[in-house]
Symmetry: C2
Subunit: 352 residues, 2 copies
């Protein structure tokens, strides 16, 4: 009975599920464990056996079952990415950089996007990742004020590309030096002779937006200049255009620092529509250095971040943390630089 049943079960299984290690073992005349050893590169296998097994694997088209391996190892060689679900350049670049680095390290990438700015949805997405059994997590989510649930993540290493969260006992927080970016942009405009600099900020829920704003404000305060009201956009050109229209109506505005390039594009359009020239009448500085920035009608002066490099560096450290676990809590800044192009110039002469 038992033999019978086992036999029939195995046969059914084989047709249902494909070739398993045992099939290879039988065909090669070795034990299943030896097949496992060959597959995993165990050195304690004679060359002859190794070759025979490899041959059988090739002819049978055997591919190890990942689920089984994951189950027994308790690891998946998978990294989860929590990202904001937009097509914006920043998040996209971070994502591409992450994927490349993850794959280079021999891991797979599981992606979860959240368009929502809702804490519970983000937590749910995070839970999803944990449930999938990822070995590590990358958070490329610009969540500002949220406190994400600690117990969910446990001691799984976390790489945060947008500031420190404190949700794991092994966290690596890596971020472009956003405040410096805001400072550089603002200082550049001040150095050109502008009295003050107006600011189009990103959504206040985004930590990066808030930090750029801080850099801008600090610079103005340090220089003893008037600090205009902050205008908020939502990262899109459309919002930049709307905010820009208001700014364009104010003749005292001569310099604008936009928290990203897309909004800067909208601002410039609004300026043009109001008959104000860039940079002759108004200077504009963007942020990110999107690939199009240099090819706009007026090439945009902007602050460059190395998204891909940052993601790559961060993932490398994350993998390190996964493979040699330890408690750690690192926070690092990534350098940032100004790219001067055509949209900034000294202010127009004033009648004073």
């Amino acid at each position: 009975m038992s033999a019978n049943k086992a036999e029939s079960t195995r046969t059914a299984t084989r047709s249902d599920r494909g070739v398993v290690a045992m099939d290879v073992a039988r065909a090669a005349g070795v034990s299943q464990k030896t097949v496992s050893r060959v597959v995993n590169g165990d050195p304690h296998v004679s060359a002859a056996v190794q070759e025979r097994v490899r041959e059988v694997i090739a002819t049978l088209g055997y591919r190890p079952n990942r689920a089984a391996r994951n189950l027994v190892l308790g690891r998946t060689r998978t990294i989860g990415l929590l990202s904001v679900g937009t097509t914006d350049y920043g998040p996209s670049a971070l994502m591409v950089g992450t994927e490349v680095a993850v794959r280079r390290a021999g891991y797979s990438l599981l992606v979860v996007n959240t368009i929502e700015e809702d804490e519970s949805l983000i937590s749910a997405a995070l839970a999803d990742l944990v449930d999938q059994g990822v070995d590590g997590i990358v958070i490329n989510e610009p969540v500002g004020s949220f406190t994400l649930p600690t117990d969910l993540v446990g001691d799984r290493p976390v790489l945060s590309l947008s500031g420190h969260y404190g949700i794991s006992t092994s966290e690596i927080a890596l971020d472009a030096d956003q405040p410096s970016g805001g400072r550089i942009a603002t200082q550049h405009l001040l150095d050109l002779g502008h009295r003050t600099v107006h600011h189009v900020a990103g959504p206040s829920t985004f930590r990066s937006a808030a930090l750029r704003t801080i850099g801008w404000r600090d610079t103005l305060v340090a220089a003893g200049r008037e600090v205009p009201d902050v205008r908020y956009g939502d990262w899109t050109s459309r919002s930049g255009h709307a905010v820009g229209a208001e700014l364009a109506a104010d003749p005292t505005v001569t310099a604008i620092f936009s928290a990203n390039d897309q909004m800067g594009i909208g601002v410039m359009r609004a300026l043009a529509e109001a008959g104000r020239r860039v940079p002759e009448d108004v200077s504009v500085v963007g942020f990110d250095d999107i690939p199009e920035a240099a090819y706009l009608a007026r090439a945009l002066t902007t602050v460059r971040q190395d998204f891909v490099g940052m993601a790559g560096h961060g993932v490398a450290r994350l993998v390190e943390a996964i493979e040699t676990p330890r408690r750690q809590d690192i926070t690092e800044s990534y350098p940032i630089s100004l790219v001067e192009r055509e949209t900034t110039a000294p202010p127009p002469p004033r009648g004073i």
Copy 2:
């Protein structure tokens, strides 16, 4: 001995791996199978037991082990995405759309990017996905002429967002109607009175690029117009700028159809640098309708595709195919439309 050993093993396991269904079962005074039933929403569980088990699950923080479930089910509720690793709007939008749709369907998304145009690398990436045990595959890879390996994918359903590959016994090929896009753009320019239309194409390895070019050429031929040499870019503004410079130097050029908006931006810049105005001297039509298109100094006339909608529709069909397997081979086109803005106008008057 066995009891002893089992006990110690279990204890070690518990501390290593966390809470498992058996722990919940013991705490709730039911069998492990009943816990499984509750977790999976089996209706044949009394309300009382259900509630008790749920409570224990919550207090113990039990989360089912995905690997174990995958192993026994032979399915992962995971979909793999093979995408081109760029930050371009099209691929990004397709990816976001895919992710959202996949998650809505209760699946997870495994992403593999390939920047390379190397067939073997793409095949390797595909193999990676299959090894991970994905239930279905989305190919958002603009590979033109490659014949991807059939045996790898087997009968796993495939959704192709870039044409038909014939690599699975259950394939859904969905694509924006690229030739129509090329036709609409070209016809629009012809209708405005231009004698012919010059074309900046995407890389020839991209199927979508080739199809847009076909639409363009067909329209010119049908109208009996001269068909200028195709100029090739690489989708970037930089390449558009380079090609645009050549075109700008030719005074007979009055209309340009660019295979994407980014290259269109570069073309317009080159035109401006050569002192040729858009649209007074030269008309430009782009492709994709990136979010910035409407906010450029000259709002770009372009061909709009609904990336997100297409991905969502396609994924829905893919999930359908996964859940009720059948042999199929569907090819569908997704509609496309012209968005007329400021960069197209009748040609300048000629001295004839």
